[in-house]
């Protein structure tokens, strides 16, 4: 799987018109361009370069970034924790806030709470993330000056948890609009489906308190499709991170990918895609495992 992803990406990015930024400067002479082409090994045909890359990759060496001459793995390693932090927090926020919201919505179906929550969810799905981010920056950073507008932490200062959190709030909120609404909606519909089932009505008829019924039985079963949705949300979060990182100047993988694509930094683009694909595959495996834990009736086929 990873092989296919890497191959497709490699060939695609090499097809793109233009070349690495180092060669594509206005003030570069043709001799410089030729010299750099040879240095970067770009004068060899694409399939040969792919095989060279592959040989290295199998040993853990994903090549050298064309824009900084550093090893690709190093560059990714610098940025990956930041994206994981942001995405992880956004995912956690979506789950921790979304599931209760979905349950509340389901339990109060048809009432104002349900309508409000549903509308808010849809709003979250409809609003362009970058616009939302810009509006937040305008309000909280420029006008009210409560929150910093970019970066991971205040530069030159010592580590402070409060400082880190202040930098994290807005990007996390904006990124969670990619996942929270879906979690709410899925939880709601899953709960509704389960609550309508016979055995629930039986349990209620038998006199078990509403709370026990809800949290004990319904939730357990409703969680199953929700877990699967979470698995599907990971790619969306990573993709959404590209835009969120751009708006908030967050030094993560998303921005790195855009820079790499624009700068035609072939090894870096392929490296990032492979790493991301690996992460997504890993997450789906984890989700599958979570499945079996939640419902022991499901066995891995």
């Amino acid at each position: 799987m990873l092989l296919i992803v890497s191959a497709i990406t490699f060939f695609m990015i090499n097809l793109a018109p233009g070349g690495p930024s180092a060669l594509m400067r206005f003030d570069v002479t043709p001799e410089q361009r030729e010299a750099l082409t040879r240095r970067f090994g770009l004068d060899q045909p694409v399939p040969v370069r792919y095989l060279q890359w592959l040989a290295g990759a199998l040993h853990g060496d994903l090549g050298t970034s064309l824009t900084t001459q550093q090893p690709v793995l190093d560059r990714i390693g610098e940025r990956l924790p930041n994206t994981l932090l942001l995405s992880g927090l956004a995912l956690t926020l979506s789950i921790v806030v979304g599931i209760p919201m979905g349950i509340a919505s389901a339990l109060r179906r048809g009432k104002p709470t349900d309508y409000t929550l549903s509308t808010l969810s849809l709003l979250g799905l409809s609003i362009p993330a970058f616009w939302f981010g810009i509006m937040l920056i305008l309000t909280f950073s420029v006008t009210l000056q409560w929150l910093p507008s970019s970066g991971v932490a205040t530069t030159g200062a010592d580590f402070s948890l409060k400082d880190r959190l202040q930098h994290l709030i807005m990007p996390t909120i904006v990124l969670s609009t990619a996942a929270l609404p879906t979690v709410v909606r899925f939880t709601r519909s899953a709960m509704l489906e389960v609550l309508g089932q016979d055995y629930i009505r039986t349990a209620t008829a038998k006199g078990l308190s509403r709370t026990v019924v809800t949290y004990g039985h319904a939730l357990r079963n409703a969680l199953v499709p929700v877990i699967s949705v979470i698995g599907a949300l990971v790619p969306r979060l990573v993709g959404g991170a590209v835009v969120t990182e751009a708006v908030f100047g967050w030094p993560g993988m998303g921005r790195l990918a855009v820079e790499a694509a624009n700068g035609r930094d072939y090894p870096l683009v392929v490296g990032i895609t492979v790493v991301i694909a690996a992460i997504v595959i890993l997450t789906s495996l984890l989700v599958d495992l979570a499945y079996t834990w939640i419902d022991p009736r499901i066995r891995l086929a």
Binding site: E78, T155, G156
Partner: protein, 498 residues
């Protein structure tokens, strides 16, 4: 003291990946033989004085003797030798800026404090070019260390430097923190620490300037200037730049051969409107290649050569045979409508400029289609392959009137003569200007050259932009220079305690 840069820098001025953001840091870290003086003439930096030989075929540089590298090693002519002979001039190294030194054949060490640059042709502008992103690298670090572009402990870490500040740490995607170099040859700098913060988004830079997180920045987005003028604690400073925007009409297209057509297009473009709308008034009309900042050489009499005059443009076009108007409102000649495509690189103010020019041309019956392209693809098409009809871009060059590389007939096709205009008379003037380094002797040559250029329009000159710097009131000692040049004086800056 914090200032923003757009991306991670590469701490090596000659590195092929040293783009604009690296400039600012490298000018602080690495002294060159000369630096831009406050009057823009080259001033001594690591070289205390220099002199051209009588035949103009070599320059001798006398180096200072009290300069040490940040690791304690002394700076000598060997470093200059190594930097140029082994890195810059090496044909297959691909060093950035190599093209600026095409007239230099090699560098010789006479004694530890004297270096001689041998030339293949007279090159009066050499000191100015040595003041232009030409920092000297330490031989004792690079000799024997293999590929200079792969030495990441230096280029992306903590390099060994001669400047007033040295690198303390480099956090990718976030900042480069410099601390004071107490053994700087010109005395201890006033600031303790200099932080280059990576802020990629222009609006975020503005927001951070407003909130006091940044003390100085270049305002690329001039639209926000009014907001910043009204902000407390900040001042807006216009600075001169050695830069001009131009429209290149590819001379391989026969329609653009006729000078009347080029002149007509010059009259048809409302450059004042562009300056007002896009530069918010911070710019002046350009009719030649020498910028007003180069006061010694700039000829101000050319300022009104091409006022905005669509009627005159139409008259000239008619003279050139483009008279009858076709059904689509475009001028025609020999049954062909006057239309072409303008390739637009997505950077800076190029997009809105092209949109305004397109409308101006439409008014006189010339149909220009815009083809917006992502930057790398644009360079490939326009600069590498010269496959274009018309395009707008700019030149930035050192503080010297020698603009031969951009106008010489020999530079057409593969060199920096983008339109490919070839004219022996112009070549002659350009070569003459390189022969002597005496400003009094050069001035008449360049005055003649400017008049000739304004007449013949090898490029359609558009405007000279000004730079707007946003400076915090707490920051003192910043000279009245554009920020790149001002970085050479960072040891004089200080922060007022508020």
């Amino acid at each position: 003291m914090t200032l923003p840069i757009g991306a991670d820098p590469t701490l090596n001025p000659w590195h092929p990946n040293a783009f604009v953001e690296s400039l600012f840091v490298n000018r602080v870290l690495f002294g060159g033989l000369a630096k831009p003086g406050k009057d823009l003439n080259p001033a001594p930096d690591l070289a205390a004085s220099w002199k051209a030989a009588d035949d103009g075929m070599s320059w001798t540089f006398n180096l200072r003797d009290n300069v040490t590298w940040s690791d304690g090693q002394p700076f000598t002519a060997d470093d200059v030798d190594y930097t140029f002979n082994q890195i810059v001039l090496k044909p297959d190294a691909g060093a950035n800026g190599r093209g600026n030194f095409s007239a230099v054949s090699d560098v010789k060490v006479v004694d530890p404090k004297t270096a001689v640059f041998n030339l293949s042709r007279p090159f009066a502008a050499l000191p100015s070019y040595l003041a232009y992103n030409a920092g000297i690298l330490p031989k004792h670090v690079f000799a024997g260390a293999g590929d200079p572009w792969a030495l990441n402990s230096f280029n992306k870490g903590t390099p060994v430097s001669t400047g007033p500040f040295k690198v303390q740490n480099f956090t990718s995607g976030q900042s480069v923190v410099l601390t004071r170099n107490d053994s700087y040859y010109a005395g201890k700098p006033l600031l303790d620490q200099l932080v280059f913060k990576v802020v990629a988004d222009a609006n975020t830079q503005i927001a951070q300037a407003l909130s006091g997180e940044l003390q100085i920045m270049i305002l690329d987005n001039k639209a926000a200037v009014d907001r910043l003028k009204g902000a407390r604690g900040l001042s807006v400073q216009p600075r001169t730049l050695v830069q001009y925007y131009w429209l290149a009409l590819n001379q391989t297209d026969p329609r653009f051969h006729d000078v009347r057509v080029r002149q007509a297009i010059e009259y048809a473009i409302d450059r004042n409107a562009i300056i007002q709308a896009i530069e918010k008034g911070y710019g002046t009309i350009a009719n030649s290649a020498i910028v007003p900042a180069l006061k010694t050489y700039y000829d101000s009499s050319l300022e009104n050569r091409y006022p905005y005059d669509p009627a005159k443009a139409s008259a000239l076009l008619a003279e050139a045979g483009w008279a009858a108007s076709g059904p689509d409102g475009l001028l025609q000649k020999d049954g062909q409508p006057f239309s072409f495509t303008m390739d637009v690189g997505q950077r800076g103010v190029l997009q809105p400029t092209n949109e305004l020019i397109q409308q101006n041309l439409k008014k006189v019956g010339i149909g220009a289609d815009l083809n917006a392209m992502e930057w790398n693809a644009y360079i490939q098409k326009v600069v590498v392959n010269r496959d274009y009809a018309a395009t707008v871009n700019w030149w930035v060059y050192p503080n010297d009137p020698d603009v031969l590389p951009y106008y010489a007939s020999s530079a057409a096709g593969k060199g920096f003569n983008i339109p490919g205009y070839q004219d022996a008379a112009l070549d002659d003037l350009l070569a003459q200007g390189q022969k002597t380094s005496d400003p009094a002797a050069r001035k008449p040559i360049y005055t003649q050259m400017q008049a000739y250029m304004a007449d013949k329009l090898p490029y359609n000159f558009l405007w000279y932009p000004q730079e707007i710097d946003v400076v915090s009131d707490t920051l003192q000692g910043v000279p009245d220079l554009n920020l790149r040049d001002a970085m050479h004086y960072v040891q004089e800056w200080s922060l007022k305690k508020s």
